[in-house]
Subunit: 365 residues, 2 copies
């Protein structure tokens, strides 16, 4: 998912810190507000017509415009237009754009606590994490992180459980990871480095050739929903199951000053249209993954599905725990978020184990 990070130089905007404009004033719109049209500009990380990810802001736009009877107008600029896919946070913070569609963990260089709201290695699946966001305190923690930048972050759609990636060789022990050149960015890349692998940054357009020529031994991308078009299944025989992004959630960003200037009905339309588009993106991801996986298997029946053996997971998990411990020690809010996620995961996974997991296992014997 973090596919184009390394391809683009982050444009940095020099912006004075914005105040926290959030207020909970639930006044009815005045007659003037009721007739006023608000044009909101949205900047997305994705290129024009990027499937699934890019469909989500379009769905949001249509819902918001129809529900508001045209009082909200949403103008979407893709990266082709604004040229700064990783400038979304700054765009919306400064008010240059009112809204954004991106992924929270792209901003970890600005604020480490934005890291936790996309997907964490060994963390929650999408349906577990949605419960955390809505009922387990996740949204409140995300508000705490973003409010100080004058921003509100709302769930932006899940890609589902991301696959562990395409490998040229089987991974049978931790020794097989030593020196393995793999395209795997972000926090998962740090974990891989911790156990001796060599995370390498390669731009998306060059990934296929790099894997084909052995410049890299492995790479992770997303899953069948978006891997099919990349063609990796034609050149790498092993497709590993996921562990590093078990439920990657995108984000909508909202400039709070602009949000607070809207009448209450349009505020609710805005947030509801975002959330509904987000839930439906998860449906779309699952649908596209199912469809594309069937196509891949049909055309390339020899794709070998593998899962890392337990000792490999044990080492990766130990590295993960070590890095999280370091994070928690360095920042009280990080500690609070890590504890919330860890406790919630423990509780909800015990339920998943006797419900969906037990059911799926009983039917695949």
């Amino acid at each position: 998912m973090k596919k184009t990070i390394q391809a683009i130089i982050l444009l940095t905007f020099s912006i004075s810190a914005t105040a926290n404009w959030f207020n909970d004033d639930k006044q009815k719109p005045t007659q003037q507000q009721e007739q006023k049209t608000y044009t909101l500009k949205l900047a997305e990380t994705w290129p024009s017509n990027f499937p699934i990810f890019g469909d989500t802001p379009k769905k949001f736009k249509k819902l918001a415009e129809t529900m508001s009877n045209g009082r909200l107008k949403i103008r979407i600029d893709s990266k082709n237009k604004h040229k700064a896919p990783f400038g979304i946070f700054d765009f919306v913070k400064s008010g240059q754009y009112d809204l954004g569609h991106s992924a929270s963990y792209y901003w970890k260089g600005k604020d480490i606590n934005t890291l936790f709201f996309t997907s964490m290695p060994f963390g929650m699946t999408t349906f577990e994490q949605h419960a955390w966001f809505e009922y387990g305190g996740g949204q409140e923690l995300m508000d705490k992180v973003y409010a100080k930048y004058g921003l509100k972050s709302i769930i932006g759609g899940s890609s589902g459980n991301q696959m562990g990636g395409w490998f040229q060789k089987e991974i049978n022990s931790i020794a097989d990871l030593k020196g393995l050149k793999m395209r795997i960015p972000g926090f998962a890349g740090e974990i891989m480095a911790e156990v001796g692998a060599k995370p390498i940054n390669i731009s998306p357009g060059e990934l296929y050739t790099a894997l084909d020529r052995g410049t890299i031994d492995a790479l992770e991308w997303i899953g069948p929903s978006l891997d099919l078009r990349m063609g990796f299944h034609k050149i790498a025989p092993y497709y590993y199951t996921g562990w590093h992004e078990p439920g990657s959630e995108l984000q909508f960003l909202v400039n709070l000053k602009k949000y607070n200037s809207l009448p209450k009905d349009l505020q609710t339309i805005l947030i509801s249209a975002m959330k509904l588009s987000a839930y439906q993106m998860y449906d779309q991801s699952e649908h596209e993954s199912a469809k594309n996986w069937a196509t891949m298997k049909k055309d390339y029946p020899n794709i070998k599905i593998r899962t890392f053996p337990k000792p490999v997971f044990d080492a990766l998990r130990a590295a993960n725990d070590k890095l999280l411990k370091k994070l928690a020690a360095s920042n009280p809010l990080s500690k609070e978020i890590i504890e919330s996620q860890t406790n919630y995961l423990r509780k909800i996974r015990a339920w998943t184990a006797i419900s969906d997991q037990a059911y799926l296992n009983s039917q695949s014997k």
Copy 2:
């Protein structure tokens, strides 16, 4: 979930068949419509303040009223008021109520094809079924079934994967099911009868006593989210994992004539508020199940989680397939829906197997 069916005598309304009013006219609202207030009456199957299920229409009401700036007023009547929990279909069909909140499979006596839109034994999980509804043709099939009654049905929230029930004795073979007196209504009850069990109808208020005194040997209810308050864990040691309702989805019902009389913006607000409330009910169900399961385990650490052995599932599945085959042969639309669900399940389960299922299994070794 089908908890109160047997407790209440279905009130039948004598209504002339309503025409199919559905039209796709996407006109902008006139100025008159823009100012008009529409009061919509909703009848729900649930008693007042029934948790989770009953919270969903309340959430819908709040969203619809706020987004419409009061132009939509929703009045909710619970079963305490209208006295006919299984009269919702007829209420909304006749226009006595504009909206309903219930479950599609309650209407199988009126139209067998309503059976398929809640949850089918050995069928899809909630996240699989949501993809089917939104992207796999599920909504279109549901429209086909309901349009001839002048109704529209929209997803109404999932209870998650329902547990297989509370048992006094362990089930080690199909012989243990012969003569087993179990409270298990609906299609799953028919499957159980097919393999020799004795499905028995007992009103919800008497279930605890019946299980305690041995009038029945087992019962299914919902899952930890709503089982905790029933207290079954205090008297039945075995809690079986689910197979008969792997993703039970409630439904909103809409009177199409009323729907078509609304301006386009309010139509979209109505449907969006329903869908968003539905997705969030699934989050709430997962959250409450996780929380209540932790409580049950803490207070009664000896609850024994069991899964039917493979030969038992094989027999139940054979019975299920036989009953479905009979249904498909008797009705062309049943055949179309069964084929759509069977094909979609095959495709999406292959994806679930290498994504969420593989991940969950790799982390619980």
